[in-house]
């Protein structure tokens, strides 16, 4: 399944002084370990691989090539993990004949074996979150399962890699895909990489058997327990967590600014402990809802794409309209009052007036259970709002009714709006 193979990582130990030295080929050591840190906000993955190498005293030349991959050549870095004080990179050369290869000249104090880490950034590996919400038959709670899917289109197969996923957006000044084309190094890019490497190392600390989530500066890192092999061009989905009994509130909401002129069923839960969640932020992804349809069977409710949900943040999911729960607004009366006129010579002109409108809000719940409503009404201009039923002022132009209606119930709410126009307006 390895379609393209990169980096026949050749180690060339070269006899130090002589210029026209004979090159000696050294057996390619296997990768001891490979770790992928995948960002989902940008097309970027940090690859860190460690290998045990044998150095001869003096200068060693180490060649690294990456044909047919999406590696950013400016990001390739060499670091000694052991014997760091005895090994030093003297220079890095990029041979003219190949744009997908570099050679390090490394001096060693003595003949020695050392563990080295080669790290670089590549594009083409991405990940995405996905959720399944299995709603109870009455919609009052759900079992939430979160998944992460890793997609590898980098051109390289990473076998038995430790996979870490970064949640959160990072600042990247150039895209890796562009840099992989062999453009010159950029100072700011290097700084960004440096920060990310530092962050990635700091998160190394501990690992568990599961997908472990930990906070890190502005990001979260999910570490997948054990190792995974994601062949090139494959995608792999892993369960991130599963939480049963998450309480869900279902509110029929009228909010034209957010959901258009439609009464929508909004499912709400919080990413907090009260909702048996809140252990980590939830990355952006598609949430698919299903409902228990009896005898362990499932029915499909709908899907929605959510944004990143921070810890303790509220999640509102629009499950669409429901023909069995309806809202109708009619204007039952319209009057103009307080007309004021101005004179221009003998001609009289209207300059200010009020409109006084009465509206009727009709709510019908044809469902066989009680439902909650939230109706948001937005008004423009200089207006007064009168209502028999108490409404909450959400902002300077929005009033909200919160209602609960029994099964089969109908309710009418009457409200009146006076709007001042022309010279009558005080604003």
């Amino acid at each position: 399944m390895i379609k393209t193979s990169w980096c026949l990582c050749a180690l060339l130990a070269v006899l130090a002084p002589a210029l026209a030295a004979k090159e000696e080929l050294v057996t390619l050591p296997k990768r001891d370990k490979v770790q992928l840190t995948i960002y989902n906000s940008v097309d970027l993955t940090l690859v860190r691989e460690t290998r045990a190498l044998t150095f001869k005293k003096g200068n060693n030349r180490l060649q690294f090539s990456w044909a047919n991959t999406l590696i950013d050549p400016t990001s390739v870095e060499f670091r000694a993990v052991t014997s760091a004080d005895k090994i030093e990179v003297l220079d890095t050369s990029y041979p003219a004949e190949s744009h997908q290869m570099l050679i390090w000249t490394i001096s060693a104090e003595s003949d020695l074996s050392a563990t080295v880490e080669i790290s670089y950034f590549t594009s083409g590996i991405s990940w995405a979150a996905e959720y399944h919400g299995m709603l109870a038959a009455d919609d009052s709670s759900m079992t939430l399962t979160a998944y992460v899917t890793v997609m590898n289109n980098s051109g390289e197969e990473y076998e038995d890699a430790q996979v870490r996923l970064v949640v959160g957006s990072i600042n990247l000044v150039e895209t890796i895909a562009g840099l992989a084309g062999g453009q010159r190094q950029n100072q700011r890019m290097e700084e960004a990489y440096g920060e990310m490497r530092k962050a990635a190392r700091a998160a190394d600390a501990d690992r568990k058997k599961d997908i472990v989530k930990e906070g890190l500066s502005e990001y979260y890192i999910y570490t997948v327990g054990g190792t995974e092999t994601v062949p090139n061009a494959w995608a792999k989905r892993l369960e991130s967590f599963k939480q049963a009994g998450v309480p869900v509130r279902s509110v029929y909401t009228w909010d034209t600014a957010k959901y258009g002129a439609q009464l929508c069923r909004i499912l709400t839960f919080k990413n907090d402990e009260a909702h048996k969640l809140g252990k980590e932020p939830l990355p952006a992804g598609i949430v698919r809802f299903y409902r228990e349809a009896g005898a362990g069977r499932l029915g499909y409710v709908g899907a929605v794409a959510t944004n990143y949900i921070a810890k303790n943040d509220e999640i509102k999911v629009n499950a669409g309209s429901d023909p069995e729960v309806t809202l109708k607004i009619t204007r039952s009366s319209h009057k103009k009052e307080n007309l004021s006129f101005a004179f221009n010579g003998r001609q009289q002109f209207l300059q200010g007036w009020d409109t006084y409108d009465q509206f009727k809000l009709e709510l019908k719940n044809f469902r066989d259970r009680a439902v909650e409503f939230e109706v948001n009404l937005v008004f423009n201009g200089d207006f007064d709002f009168e209502s028999e039923l108490a409404a909450t002022k959400v902002d300077f132009r929005t009033q909200r009714y919160t209602l609960r209606m029994d099964k089969g119930a109908r309710q009418e709410v009457v409200y009146k709006v006076r709007t001042r126009f022309g010279t009558n307006a005080r604003k």
Binding site: P231, A233, R237, E239, S333, Q348
Partner: protein, 371 residues
Amino acid sequence: MNKRILMTFCFTFGVGAMISLLNPTPADARIKLATLPDREAVVVRFDNPNVVMVEEERTISLQKGVNNVDFSWAGTQIDKGSIIFRPADPAAKVEILSTSYPPGEAALTWQISAAEAMSVKFRLSYLMANIQRETDYRMLVSKDEQTCSFKHYFKIRNWSGGRFATADFVTRDGKKFEKGLENGEAKRVLVNSWDKVKLTKEYVYDLTRQPEGKVLTDYVLKNAKEIGLGSIPLEYGKVRIYQDDGSGTTAFTGEDWGRFTPIGDDMRLNIGIAQDIKIEMKKMVNDVQNRRGNVYDTDEVDEYEIKNFKDTEAVVTLVLRVDGEWEMKATTSGHDSFERVDNETIRFKVKAPAKGTPVKLRFHYQKKNVW
């Protein structure tokens, strides 16, 4: 020990399902051997108004340790992200470790870990494209137009590429029927039937519905127990209306789209034009009053002459509209009752005597503060 199983959706030759054991070793050697579990207990659900969910059961023999199970659906359109795979018994000692998606294939591989070698029944559900549904109704009205029988049909057309040797189809209101459905085939099934349903007939004059001013004949069915319906919300669908012609056969008297009608709501169906009722409108008064600069009121009388040429009296509903601020004057005459539906709309009921004797609705109103 690794075991690889292949399960396909593939239906080209009508073999319900294929699952295969695969060479366990490298990833590029996924060999699909056709044998293994049949689809059992297939359920096709129409709960969601837009998409169709298929749920099937498959019994898979698992070895102790990690097993690979392949599922492929070449030739059908399954929403990959919607696939849910779970043991039918949640307590089963199996764990789905991961799902892998090979490149360029309508397929995936589950990695399932089993505590011991056993046969496990799994439920597999997914959203499947190109299964269309359609609801239609057939209404047979009695000669006296007091009652009707109301039949509810459900039609499914399967363009999905898959075939269902047999499946339980579940409609939105929970009605279940078992049928087979080939690819490309459509099936229409009577799912509900109600007899002796009471109906109401209305004559309606409404220029927004009939701009030429002809009178519409509507049947109104209340989706409620008291008239003989009310057991399920009625789906949107075409209603074809027939009437008993009193001589042993029936005649088609019209059709209309029935909108989605929740329990307790009305379904209004227009059957056609009431050709024996004619309404002619004349504006008899059109005056301006109370002029203040560029602002004025009006005084208007619209006269509707209604002639009912039928042999019996009829009650006609006139739905009239006036924009802006206005009020009806008490001198309005000729109507039986009226209702101001909203600010712009007023609904009159007028009794029209039989045999063409004209009756006049004089609608007297004043528009206020017009400019």
